[in-house]
Amino acid sequence: MSNLIKLNNGVASLVEDDWALVQLPATQVEERKQAGKVVLFKLTGEATVTEAQIADTVIPATGKIILPLSVFIARNSEIKDRIAQGEIGVWLATHELLENLTQQQTDLNALPIIAIFVERFADGRIFSLGNLLRTRFGFKNELRAFGDVLRDQLYFLKRSGFTSYLVRADRSAQEAIASLGDFTKPYQGAVDEPRPVFKRYNRGV
């Protein structure tokens, strides 16, 4: 059965995945650790994608596909028509820069789906990325989390603007749905409910 949970008007259910995820081929090159200032700082410890990996990525000729950001950018001319037909989505790792996506693709809403890959449960960058995509870049379509996605992140992912969650294959997505409702009246404003509790309820004087 599918492990994909999707929110539809706030109601979560398990659905079949109609998107195919395209991965980069494994790299032969040593992982490069970068340290230092400003932008490089963001990349500390994360593997960089190589030209060869991008070139070797197999882009399926038909169907709805989600491409790695680096491939989406470097080989954009190959997929122009398919973007227009709504067949192309993009995925990013949590260390990648949203600005790289928005520079390439000014109209994000031409993409039916953006997905964020979270390698480790503890990597909370995914929440800021979701928030920025929704509030800063005005993305309105499906926003998906995949990777090390376990039920105890779901509530936070939902509040950060994610609308679909591909739960890790060895866990029950059916049971995980319950955690989307862990808390009924959150204190702070976030993507799903921008108003903080003190603007939603009259809590007395």
Binding site: K33, G36, K37, V38, F41, K42, T44, G45, E46, F121, A122, D123, G124, R125, F127, S128, L129, N131, T135, R136, L150, D152, Q153, Y155, F156, L157, K158, R159, S160, S179, D182, F183, T184, K185, P186, Y187, Q188, G189, A190, V191, P194, R195, P196, V197, F198, K199, Y201, R203, G204, V205
Partner: protein, 555 residues
Amino acid sequence: MYKYDEIDQQIVDERVAQYRDQTRRYLAGELSEDEFRPLRLQNGLYIQRQAPMLRIAVPYGMLSSAQLRKLGDISKKYDKGYGHFSTRQNLQLNWPKLEDVPEILADLATVEMHAIQTSGNCIRNITTDQFVGVAPDEVIDPRAIAEIMRQWSTFHPEFALLPRKFKIAVSGTKNDRALVQAHDIGMEFYRDSNNQVAIKVWVGGGLGRTPILGTVIREHLEWQHALTYCEAIIRVYNLHGRRDNIYKARIKILVKALGIDEFRKQVDAEWAHLKDTDNTITEAELARVAQHFDAMPYENVQAHDAGFDAAVASNPAFAAWVRRCVHPHKQAGYRAVTLSLKPHGQAPGDISSEQMWTVADLADEYSFGELRSSHEQNLILADVKLSDLFALWEKARANGLASPNIGLLTDIICCPGGDFCSLANAKSIPIAKAIQMQFDNLDYLHDIGEIELNISGCMNACGHHHVGHIGILGVDKDGSEWYQVSIGGKQGNDASLGTVIGPSFSADEMPGVVQKLIEVYIQERTPEERFIDTVRRLGVAPFKAHVYAKNEVAA
């Protein structure tokens, strides 16, 4: 103090249910050790040497008598009949069973308490000055904003899994007692030239393995923007802080790597989008929360009390206690009182269930049913009438809560160390006890005067040794326990980090080393100098010379 409404209560109740299910899944093998770890940590549960340790939140150090009574019950029922007040104003239980924790949380929820975000990589309990609301030098009572920030930070979805823990301190006094410069974010409240409440914001302070004092990122922030501005800071940190190396993951490392100017630029760029969005605090919300911190219904009493004066004059033991444990108050005829959790020869900050019940009764009888915990690991009754002090002292003394050593050498700040903590290089509690016994003469202690001694069992610095006038750090050398000594650290507006005096010492040598440091001070001090002043004037050299004279120790 703040009282929950149904919304607050529901969140805490839902947390109990959520954590109960997480524990169930862990025990059923549905969550691995690694997957359960961040979940239990966000709920204050460490697995330690001896047993799990549960850290219970005491928001900005405020407790009601009912809460303390319940903590006494809980530590009796689920632990060995005592608890430990930590340097972040929280209460820790050293021996709870993992399976009991959901029940403990349910008990806590009945008195509006919880263990949410008391550890883990998230926004932690917000701390402040223990004399908040009553200190004569207070300009602004920051508790209402602290409570608003507590609510905002509770399960903040964007900041649920930060690179590392995140600590915020607030202070509204002329003399900082909240260590705002030693926190990830420090907020110093003041009145600006238009008489409006404003905040000076510090960022990137922290002790631990790389001690750094914070830098001012913004001189003037209007209070309405406290939440959105913090969101801007923490978002930059969440996205760009290091996650590959736990020792380089605190915000202080990011601020250092970028430089404060670049960091400020990035924060301002975020804030340009966040400013005036929905999380901006309204006047109405501030007013709603602030009323919970209204001044107590003080009686109109004289600034002096003849009975009190007479007792001070005739009873030297009472007078000594008054000198050390009784503090000035905004309201005429009232005083704040510190109940010392540092009796000589006992683990600093430890308190038995019976003592908790006693203190709860004392708070009801003498201090409007409220009390505070301090980052110096003592308890405070903040609103005691002058005329009640003698009766309070007698009862406190009968229960081992009136050691007249507050601010003196034996008021030691100490982490749990090797007796409890699996990260420790060395034990710290036995060192504290040995020093307390070495200086077990009150007249001598009073003569030495104000001094702060801090002990940490390893470089994680839970005992804040960097800011101790004397700091002691447990180090590991070839598998045995040694202690490195530094002097000249200080908390407060003129905070500084201590300087190591030289090679480290064995446990046996430590009381003697402290003794020698004190001897130099006694000999060199001018009449008005405290230990720290003498160290600052003379530097480390004379202290070092005396400590290492003759009786050289192997390093």
